[in-house]
């Protein structure tokens, strides 16, 4: 029955992942990501 357990775990994780993603978008994280990603992050790429 371990197989059923694994499938259950997979489904739970998928749902948790989707829920977290939606929550993150809802509280405005996606906008933060976009604002950072379209500008050159000088410290990120190792300049200066």
């Amino acid at each position: 029955m371990s197989c059923g357990k694994k499938a259950a775990a997979q489904i739970v994780l998928l749902m948790a992942g989707a829920a977290m993603l939606c929550f993150g978008v809802w509280r405005g994280e996606a906008a933060t990501v976009l604002s950072k990603a379209i500008k050159l992050c000088l410290e990120c790429v190792g300049i200066g």
Partner: protein
């Protein structure tokens, strides 16, 4: 049906190089930006790409999950990113380290370097180093950007800033070549990160995927999900003749017959091609695929084909 999937596995593994090239191209669609020395600034960058691909790469079509995570965590508004974590959990469950083996541009880069003909060294004895990447994930990506903050509550993207060689390869080098203002800005940090990139390049020629094995926080995250991933390795015990060829073929030091869903397995499929009896193949779906009724139907299908 079983045989057919085994055939698919063979094909996938054989054309892996092309899939990697295609994935790298899709991840970096805006090629003209290399000449312009600018970045793509469209809404596509709200979404992350699966592999490690710097979003400061002129051509990048999406955001780097690790970079984006640190950007969110390091901003004064948030100290954890549900958006990126959720996204990575989804990808981890759906694909696991298949992403490392097939979709990651930096993984492909290291593999190409490894094709340079020199004496190759084994990483079997360096196994403890594989745990380093979890420390990188925990400390440099999760904790330091969230908690080591300045007076305004902003943290540095520690992994990006001090460790990530992909940022130099895709960001700093092409941008500084095309843009004199950026060239003038190169400083000590660039020297440090350029040395890291050089070391990774040299190590990649000698070892197979050293960065993936030892340092990559994204690989570490996906590794945690390899066991529950829908994409898995399947070994047909009835076909296996225990010749050990698969374990010898594996460049990630995994014995697929003992631990088919090992954290280090990047689903490259070298074991599939090494197996003389076609006992190893990819499997995609919920559960283990080892249930009795399933096995029965498989046997039935085998008999049919």
């Amino acid at each position: 049906m079983d045989k057919k999937f085994s055939g698919v596995s063979q094909t996938m593994s054989r054309f892996r190089g092309w899939i990697q090239a295609g994935a790298t191209l899709l991840t970096n669609l805006h090629l003209p930006n290399f000449l312009k020395g600018g970045l793509y600034q469209g809404a596509g960058k709200t979404v992350c790409v699966p592999g490690l691909n710097c979003y400061s790469c002129p051509a990048a079509s999406g955001a780097c999950p690790i970079g984006a995570f640190q950007a969110v965590v390091g901003s004064s508004k948030f100290s954890f990113s549900y958006y990126i974590t959720g996204f990575l959990i989804l990808l981890g469950v759906l694909l696991g380290r298949f992403i490392c083996g097939f979709l990651c541009p930096f993984g492909w880069f290291q593999e190409l370097l490894h094709k340079i003909p020199t004496k190759k060294l084994s990483t079997k004895k360096l196994k403890p180093l594989t745990y380093l990447k979890y420390a990188v994930l925990l400390v440099m990506v999760l904790l330091l950007p969230a908690f080591l903050v300045n007076d305004v509550g902003m943290g540095d993207p520690f992994f990006c800033k001090y460790l990530c060689p992909q940022g130099v390869l895709e960001g700093a080098i092409p941008l500084s070549l095309a843009n004199s203002g950026i060239r003038a800005a190169l400083g000590k940090l660039f020297t440090w990160k350029f040395s890291i990139l050089l070391s990774v390049i040299v190590l990649s020629v000698l070892f197979y995927r050293p960065f993936c094995k030892w340092l990559c926080p994204l690989g570490a995250f996906y590794a945690l999900f390899n066991r529950v991933s829908l994409f898995q390795m399947k070994v047909d015990k009835s076909k296996c003749v225990s010749c050990g060829k698969c374990a010898r073929a594996c460049k990630m030091d995994v014995d697929v017959t003992k631990t088919p869903n090992h954290t280090e397995c990047i689903r490259c499929g070298m074991c599939i091609r090494a197996c003389p009896t076609n006992a190893v193949c990819f499997r995609y779906g919920f559960g283990d695929g080892k249930e009795k009724e399933n096995a029965a139907t498989l046997r039935e299908n085998n008999n049919k084909s």
